[in-house]
């Protein structure tokens, strides 16, 4: 009998110190009609280092070295740099890539299995987390699906594939150097 979603999350946080893989991300309203999906690559290393690299249909990079979080969008020709805590806090990234006690920031609840996965729902304890809840589907103590419901009824569905647990990530994996000539805005 597969372990519950919350148990698999605990196993994941305990056993997987770093990972890399690919993602597909699709925003859509309740009926699921959405835009072309974004695809890209992700990687993370606890505590707090992660990379969310959208490749298609446009490029956009979100990367954190554990202290500072960088966002770079070549089309927008801008890099923003801010402290990690301001932004990660109660975001979905915190659930997967953080290492703090999740129960402090989220109310965790097991859901019935669906799509062959064991699910949990994480509801942020603070009202202004910017989303209503996030549901994560696990298999083999690895997250496979993340469904984020925002406060306007929009659901962002993320699928994680080709996940490698505890790969050897080189030291520069989470280092970001802004490309020359791009406007870098440093926030406190």
């Amino acid at each position: 009998w597969p372990a519950s979603g919350t148990q698999q999350l605990r196993d994941f946080v305990a056993q997987v110190q770093s990972a890399s893989g690919r993602f597909t991300q699709q925003a859509g309203d309740r009926q699921g009609a959405g835009k072309p999906a974004q695809t890209g690559e992700f990687s993370f290393q606890r505590p707090g280092k992660f990379k969310w690299d959208v490749r298609k249909p446009y490029e956009q990079l979100i990367i954190s070295d554990g202290k500072r979080l960088y966002q770079y969008d070549p089309d927008l020709a801008q890099v923003t740099e801010r402290n990690v805590d301001q932004s990660i806090g109660a975001s979905p990234a915190a659930i997967l890539f953080g290492s703090g006690a999740l129960e402090d920031v989220f109310e965790l609840q097991d859901l019935p299995p669906r799509d062959g996965l064991e699910w949990l729902r994480a509801k942020p304890r603070s009202a202004d987390a910017g989303f209503t809840h996030v549901e994560i589907g696990f298999k083999g103590s690895m997250p496979q699906r993340i469904d984020l419901l925002d406060s306007f009824g929009q659901t962002t569905r993320i699928s994680l594939t080709d996940i490698r647990a505890n790969p050897k990530l080189d030291a520069a994996a989470f280092k970001f150097t802004p490309p020359p000539g791009v406007d870098v805005v440093k926030m406190q």
Partner: protein
């Protein structure tokens, strides 16, 4: 980032766009602020609905503009109203965005009223102009309008840059 999904509804003459924005404010005192995110723009001509989302795709706020009234609804449920939407957006993003002007600029035309130093591109489309205190540069046109808009405003206390990139859109 996941830009919010196009908002439904198919009234005649509806103009819809989704894309990404980068907003940068340089304060006279030297401080700098910036925010990036996605947006979904749905304008029936009478009512405009603008969703602002963070890069991970969750909608942060919705600004609805009806004749004579603009309403801001935040993700935590707080609601605010004002006669004009630009100030409301400033409350969410920390800098004004020329929402009223954009209802025309996004369709490749200046808003009614005073416009200065308008220039057209080789294909006769509006390429740059100044209006309501903003300098606008429109480019990467598709059938619906520009897909890249660079907007700048220099007030006494701050210089503001708004850069909009369009990813998707339709007019029905």
């Amino acid at each position: 980032c996941a830009t919010p999904q196009k908002i439904g509804g198919s009234e005649q003459g509806t103009f819809e766009r989704t894309g990404r924005f980068a907003l940068t404010v340089n304060h006279a005192g030297g401080g700098q602020e910036a925010v990036q995110g996605g947006f979904a723009w749905h304008d029936t001509g009478r009512v405009l609905t603008l969703d602002l989302a963070n890069p991970l795709g969750s909608t942060l706020a919705r600004v609805t503009v009806e004749p004579g009234r603009a309403t801001l609804l935040r993700s935590n449920g707080e609601r605010e109203q004002a006669p004009d939407p630009d100030a409301l957006v400033e409350k969410v993003l920390g800098s004004p965005m020329p929402v009223s002007g954009l209802r025309h600029w996004l369709q490749g035309r200046a808003a009614p009223g005073g416009v200065a130093s308008a220039q057209k591109d080789g294909a006769g489309r509006l390429a740059s102009f100044a209006q309501d205190g903003w300098r606008a540069q429109l480019s990467r046109y598709d059938a619906l309008g520009p897909q890249l808009l660079q907007l700048n405003r220099n007030d006494a206390q701050r210089r503001i840059s708004v850069r909009l990139v369009i990813d998707d859109g339709q007019a029905k």
